[in-house]
Amino acid sequence: MGGMVNMGPLAPEAAEPVFHHGWEARVHAMTVASPTRGNIDAGRHQRELIPGPQYLAMSYYEKWFTSLKALLLKHALVSPAELAGGKADPKAPKATPRLAADAVTAAMTAQGSYVREAAPPQFSVGEAVRARNLNPPGHTRLPRYVRGRRGLVTARHGAHVFPDSNAHGKGEDPRPLYTVRFAATELWGPDAHPKDSVSLDLWEPYLERA
């Protein structure tokens, strides 16, 4: 939706609580603790599968709740009958929770990394690149508003897990990640402010030499 302008007021709230309702906190915690949490890209993709009109009408944690249920079904961790009835099938094996209460702080503060070993990057800092005009049927982190636009590489971040592959369970397929700066005028035309820019973090398969 980046680049659309008529989505309504920004509506900042004074002294906003972390969660507005107890159920929001439980949805957040269940999503974080669920065995489906391992693949962050699959979780994002699941939320993107909510049809657009519903996606825009739902609150944030309604989207999380919908996606959590869908992922639990997809991984066969709960059955449709269990979800509908709210009771575990007495014949189903009982799992052991992967995340215990005394392990939560360590799990939240463990310093992970999405950097992996991979082939060296093709582009250098300062080099002009173009975001390719790609429209894949599945998950991607290449926003529509930069496709086909020209920018400059301003940083390299090593090779990171590639969401377009990882979201679909096809492996991490790490690819070099770059920060690319696009002039606002390149993205939005001559009426944009001449000094302004938008920078994005883009994987090498999204880019070509310009």
Partner: protein, 184 residues
């Protein structure tokens, strides 16, 4: 919603997929242990300790970890510094990416369609709605968090704060100042 969520939680607990006490601990973590007070300490340290500021520029993840802030959604940190001629603004147009260890969970407006859609095309209009008017010669740099890199804005140190301690400086730093929607 509350009843449906409760029903799912009961089912997941019954099946052994989640532990209710672990859920309590997660809620406590996000309500009490992370939040913008952490980020404010990073900013105050950057203002008062030039060697720390250098380390923050070179490797923000490691520098922030010196203060004990690390973990999920803070794995790859970059600090972007405001100056008299440059203003930084952070958004995630694709979802709700936000540096949890230093800012906690994002406010509703940050993860809602109006901000996600407009921040990239009309940053000055968005800033104005937050009461932030920028001169025409100030460059606005918008950072769209499309990967696992997370951005923290280091606001300009307010004038006449030379005598303040690091704790007093941290008290001046706001969440919106570290997202970039306001200046201090």
């Amino acid at each position: 919603m509350a009843l449906r969520v409760k029903a799912l939680e009961s089912l997941l607990v019954e099946k052994g997929l989640v532990d209710a006490a672990a859920l309590d601990a997660i809620v406590d973590h996000f309500e009490h242990k992370v939040g913008p007070r952490n980020g404010a300490r990073v900013v105050a340290r950057a203002w008062s300790d030039p060697a720390f500021r250098d380390r923050l520029r070179a490797d923000a993840t490691a520098a922030i970890a010196e203060l004990g802030f690390m973990g999920r959604q803070g794995e790859h940190m970059v600090a972007v510094e405001n100056t008299p001629t440059t203003h930084n603004l952070v958004v995630c147009t694709l979802c709700s990416c936000y540096p949890w260890p230093v800012l906690g969970l994002p406010p509703v407006w940050y993860k809602s369609a109006p901000y996600r859609s407009r921040a990239v095309i009309d940053p000055r209009g968005v800033l104005k709605e937050f009461g932030t008017e920028l001169a025409d010669d100030v460059e606005v740099r918008v950072w769209d968090s499309t990967a696992e890199v997370r951005y923290l804005v280091i606001p300009e140190r307010p004038p006449a704060t030379e005598a303040l301690s690091e704790d007093e400086l941290a008290a001046l730093v706001t969440r919106d100042g570290m997202i970039g929607t306001t200046r201090l």
